[in-house]
């Protein structure tokens, strides 16, 4: 049973077109010209309770627009959205009661309040009953290691501490769904991995549905089991991470260093993409030729000094993908 159902949703924005010159500025006071920008075009997907979904795409692809429609901030131009049985923009407050959001750097916190008081405010705002409140505060403070900065005003916290605090606040009322927009942006390696571990843990313990937009592919790799890729307002891929790799990856990369100058690879399933002074990069599809076969073939025909094999990283796949899209 899907907790989020998005059915043929479009969202158009009316962008005011400006023309240069003082005369047209004066004219625009009375008559404005608009250009319709299709931010999201006919997208559909379903998400089940407890899924960890990475929502990816280049800047301006329509990620934030989608998340804002799911959270009830924006009204879709057409199509229907059901989140836990409700249409978000028509039941904005009720929808908000069952969701948590962290929108990147935009803080949910009060600058001058310490976290203990912020927690108390959110307890009242979401009408969290006392035992559950105490339990959740303890749970998040422990899991996010917040004890040391609980009593300091938020303005004195580091970026990483603020992000942890934002996550705790977003999850305090046990939302069924949490929308995270770039939750690890600007954090150091330790900070990032702490947040990734945290999200998996929360998902496991509370069955929270997580929808995550990010440009950091390690986030996707370490948190999500499903990705939805959007480009220019349309969904290009929706499925498992492994399938995504299989579909869009150009293949495995074999790098060899040989004693002789030219690398000889007689098998057509192996494509040499670079060959220079005995160092070669060879691309192959593991569904056409197994790793063992590929390595054996190279070993048989060359005097190999060193050899390495690398699975494609999602970051690379996506980068190539974006570049291809731009060229089209």
């Amino acid at each position: 049973m899907a907790i989020i159902e998005v059915n043929r949703v479009c969202k158009d924005f009316h962008v005011h077109t400006r023309r240069p010159g003082i005369l047209s500025s004066v004219k625009s006071l009375f008559w404005r010209e608009y250009e319709v920008k299709k931010a999201v075009q006919d997208i559909s997907f379903q998400i089940a309770q407890g899924e960890l979904v990475g929502y990816i795409g280049p800047n301006g692809a329509g990620k934030s627009t989608t998340v804002k429609m799911l959270s009830g901030i924006l009204v879709p131009t057409s199509g229907s959205i059901l989140v836990d049985g409700r249409t978000p923009h028509l039941n904005r407050q009720e929808n908000a009661r069952h969701m948590g959001v962290v929108f990147g750097q935009r803080s949910q916190l009060y600058w001058d309040l310490p976290m203990v008081e912020t927690f108390d405010l959110y307890r009242k705002m979401y009408r969290i009953d006392e035992p559950r409140f105490r339990e959740n505060v303890a749970f998040y403070v422990d899991l996010l290691d917040m004890q040391e900065f609980l009593h300091r005003p938020v303005r004195q916290l580091s970026l990483g501490q603020k992000m942890r605090a934002n996550l705790a606040v977003a999850l305090l009322h046990d939302p069924k769904i949490v929308y995270l927009d770039e939750p690890t942006i600007g954090l150091d390696v330790v900070g990032k991995s702490r947040i990734r571990r945290f999200l998996r843990e929360v998902n496991e313990q509370k069955k929270t549905t997580v929808i995550l937009t990010t440009h950091d592919m390690d986030d996707i790799e370490e948190i999500c089991n499903r990705i939805i890729m959007i480009h220019e307002g349309r969904i290009l891929f929706d499925g498992l991470l492994a399938d995504f790799k299989r579909k869009f990856s150009k293949g495995h990369m074999l790098t060899v260093e040989c004693a002789q100058a030219d690398v000889s690879v007689p098998d057509p399933r192996l494509r040499v993409i670079r060959d220079q002074d005995g160092r070669a990069s060879i691309l192959f599809q593991p569904n056409e030729i197994t790793v063992v076969e590929a390595v054996t073939c190279v070993m048989q025909h060359n005097r190999v000094l060193d050899l390495g094999i690398r699975e494609p990283e999602i970051e690379e796949i996506i980068r190539e993908f974006y570049e291809d899209m731009k060229q089209v």
Partner: protein
């Protein structure tokens, strides 16, 4: 009941934040009180010099001024940062956060952005009203006090409605502060004086289109037993509550209309 507590807590948080920077706050409050105090003196001196204007004595004019400033500040406490500041909240993306809370966004921004700065205007105008009231020897009767209260509340509703009407266009034109500056302050300043000093066009404007005259000019005549109603009927002095309620209701409708058309900003 728990909602009332929550909104009170939002106001207290503002106070707490402000106390962190109390020097800045106190300096601002004193500066505002001095500036408005100077306005008040200027009006008094000027009207006194001319032996009254349009048949209004100096303290009658300062009573107008006091009522006007009091209702403006009451509205401003809730509406300045929220509605005049709406464009800024939209630009910064803060308004997205508002919409993700399980609360009525109208109430949330009015309370969360509570402006303590206006307490200095409020105390100054309270003083001006009391002083003018005493000098004019208006009897302190139950009826008069009730009428004063109703006048202040109606005036605050009219002023709040103006804040909302001028703020909501931020949903379409992201920079719309100019509208408030013209309608709230420039036009609002007209009603510091009895509107009978202006030509009939401005009187109509201030009565029927931007009905600031109902904030002070019409109701104050009840206390002063005046009949300076220009072209309109004497019953207008009793209409402020109706005008206030109607304007506020219309402003709320306009807010809802704007909210449905909110387009957020890219991020």
């Amino acid at each position: 009941m728990s909602r009332v507590k929550l909104y009170l807590q939002l106001i207290l948080i503002q106070l707490q934040s402000m106390m962190e920077y109390r020097a800045v706050f106190l300096f601002g409050a004193v500066a505002q009180a001095l500036a408005y105090g100077a306005h008040f003196l200027l009006i008094w001196v000027m009207v006194n010099k001319f032996d009254g204007i349009a048949g209004w004595s100096p303290y009658e004019v300062t009573l107008l001024y006091g009522l006007n400033l009091f209702s403006y500040s009451t509205a401003g406490i809730f509406c300045l940062n929220s509605f005049y500041g709406l464009g800024g909240m939209i630009r910064s993306g803060e308004f997205d956060n508002v919409l993700t809370k399980p609360l009525n966004p109208f109430l949330l921004i009015s309370f969360r952005q509570f402006n303590y700065g206006y307490f200095s205007h409020l105390s100054l105008s309270g003083f001006v009203i009391a002083l003018s009231w005493a000098r004019l020897e208006i009897p302190v009767t139950g009826t008069n006090l009730l009428f004063l209260l109703v006048t202040l509340v109606s005036g605050a509703l009219i002023q709040a409605a103006m804040f909302i009407f001028t703020g909501v266009p931020a949903f379409w034109i992201v920079r719309s502060e100019g509208l408030a500056e013209i309608l709230m302050w420039d036009v609002g300043y007209f009603v510091r004086y009895p509107i009978t000093v202006y030509n009939s066009g401005i009187q109509i404007l201030l009565t029927l289109i931007v009905p600031y005259a109902f904030v002070s000019f019409y109701p104050v005549q009840f206390f002063l037993a005046k009949n300076d109603v220009c072209m309109f009927h004497p019953v207008f002095r009793f209409l402020s509550p109706v005008v206030g309620a109607a304007m506020f209701a219309a402003a709320y409708r306009f807010w809802r209309f704007g909210l449905d058309r909110y387009e957020s900003t890219g991020s």
